[in-house]
């Protein structure tokens, strides 16, 4: 078991970093747990935004970044609408997602990370999302991961379930094979490039531990 010791200076630095990036005043949290009672996934994973905020304030960096809630949060923002102090928990999990990626921590639920990566790279490439293209990219990533780990039953289950969905979508004519693009996609690509440059810069500001 990991032993965690409280270091005030370290804790403050981490809390301020999360606070600035998420634009949320987490020190206003007084643990009323209204967010917890509204949390969509709290019941499923047994962990709620109030505890995550507490972890960040006390500087338990490792536990906060490797938390199940960080990845399984569905960004429904219910916690934020309920919070009496206007802390948007959804923004905090989104910030922690980005921070954990920057520190090269393997996501607790890799499929969720692959999904959002494929979505963003797909939509910034063509200007619009192509459901077939980005789902394909996602499936390749998730299947490759399972193959590497020799989880063949998972691979089979994934292929079977997704092909059933694909078949059903085809039958209802809800699949469109024509490539969707925006003519001004160069602007979107420029944004993507800029974002990636910023990411490498921020890595230098907060060096890996």
């Amino acid at each position: 078991m990991d032993v965690w010791t409280y270091d005030p200076a370290d804790a403050k630095q981490f809390a301020i970093e999360v606070m600035e990036r998420s634009n949320q005043n987490i020190f206003a949290c007084y643990q009323c747990r209204r967010c917890a009672s509204g949390c969509t996934v709290g019941e499923e994973i047994g962990f709620t935004p109030d505890r995550l905020i507490r972890m960040v304030i006390t500087g338990n960096r490792k536990a906060a970044l490797e938390n199940a809630l960080v990845w399984q949060c569905v960004s429904c923002y219910t916690c934020g609408t309920r919070c009496p102090n206007n802390i948007q928990g959804g923004r905090i999990t989104e910030t922690l997602k980005k921070m954990s990626r920057e520190e090269s921590i393997t996501p607790r639920s890799p499929t969720i990370a692959y999904f959002h990566d494929s979505f963003v790279t797909g939509c910034t490439r063509w200007g619009r999302v192509n459901e077939i293209q980005f789902m394909g990219a996602y499936e390749i990533k998730s299947i490759a991961k399972n193959l590497v780990n020799l989880h063949f039953t998972d691979v089979w289950k994934e292929i079977r379930e997704q092909s059933l969905l694909l078949k059903a979508l085809f039958k209802q004519r809800r699949i469109h094979l024509k490539l969707q693009t925006a003519k001004g996609r160069n602007e979107v690509r420029a944004f993507y490039k800029k974002a990636m440059q910023k990411k490498t810069k921020s890595r230098n500001v907060f060096p890996q531990r």
Binding site: E44, R174, A182
Partner: protein, 296 residues
């Protein structure tokens, strides 16, 4: 009345019939929709999880296009697109340095004058006008609708939304206007899981089963929604999550435009309703709402 229109990627692909119905219903109500020129993806919630800058910059391009084309208002039927466009607009208002940074890369600059509208706001405004009540030729008698807003339209905290955050009533007002029955229920703003249906199905199915169980317990005979993602999830996965959670009944999941179209007397064939997974025509035939002989 001219109104800018941002369909979003979903309405051009898996939910194309929602796009079709929106145009049809709006033209019936006398609203001229103008799709904005060369729009791009808003990034949805994925951009926010990927990068802070992209989350604001991707929707900003579309705001700029609508504003430079001279529109004052834009309707966004997809809830995901609506929330990310609104979030980007508020962020840019708060942060002028970010605005100028983004504007440097854009040909159509953002100035923040655009007003974003959900499809509910536009329909509510249109139906409030005099003489529209008489045009409801097929009142939806016999439908008991569970109005499901989903989590994205009431997306709030520092971003002002038009309806109540915890208990929105816009869709109920509209559905009652068209003659159907509504009800109070607990899961109207719950989350269906959205993309989790693909990347984390067990969790998403549990969320959807909760919504379904509450709707059934309150004797709803259909679900109505405005969000293409909610509709796809509750419709395409209904067989699977119901089987996994021991639910025997199935409910059709309508878009608000379908009910509006039927009530306004549009022929059922023109609404393109065949792309649902769970049969939707059964309930319409059973209640005989589209039956011309029954109308006064």
């Amino acid at each position: 009345m001219d109104l800018a229109y941002y369909p979003g990627c979903s309405l051009h692909q898996s939910s194309q019939f929602y796009d079709h119905q929106t145009r049809l219903v709006f033209s019936t109500l006398g609203i001229d929709l103008k799709e904005i020129n060369d729009w791009s993806c808003c990034g949805a919630t994925s951009a926010g999880k990927f990068d802070d800058f992209l989350a604001v910059a991707l929707p900003a391009r579309n705001l700029g296009i609508a504003e430079t084309s001279g529109y004052h208002e834009m309707v966004v039927p997809c809830s995901g697109c609506y929330s990310s466009l609104l979030m980007s607009q508020v962020r840019l208002k708060e942060n002028p340095s970010l605005l100028s940074e983004i504007n440097r890369d854009l040909t159509a600059k953002v100035d923040g004058s655009l007003k974003l509208l959900t499809i509910l706001e536009v329909l509510l405004r249109a139906t409030a006008e005099a003489g529209v009540k008489e045009r409801v030729v097929h009142p939806l008698k016999g439908l008991k609708a569970a109005c499901y807003y989903g989590c994205m339209t009431r997306f709030a905290y520092d971003v002002p939304v038009s309806d109540n955050v915890e208990n929105p009533r816009g869709m109920e007002t509209l559905v009652e206007f068209f003659g159907a029955e509504t009800m109070d229920w607990s899961y109207k703003t719950a989350c269906c899981g959205a993309s989790a249906a693909i990347n984390d199905p067990d969790t998403a199915f549990r969320l959807m089963a909760k919504i379904m169980k509450d709707a059934l317990a309150r004797k709803a005979n259909c679900i109505v929604t405005t969000c293409p993602m909610c509709q796809l999830n509750l419709d395409a996965y209904q067989e699977r999550f119901c089987n996994a959670h021991g639910i025997y009944e199935r409910l059709p999941v309508y878009f608000i435009t379908e009910l509006a179209g039927l009530a306004l007397g549009l022929p059922i064939e023109s609404l393109n309703m065949k792309q649902h997974f769970v049969d939707v025509t059964g309930l319409i035939n059973e209640t005989r709402i589209a039956d011309d002989t029954l109308t006064p």
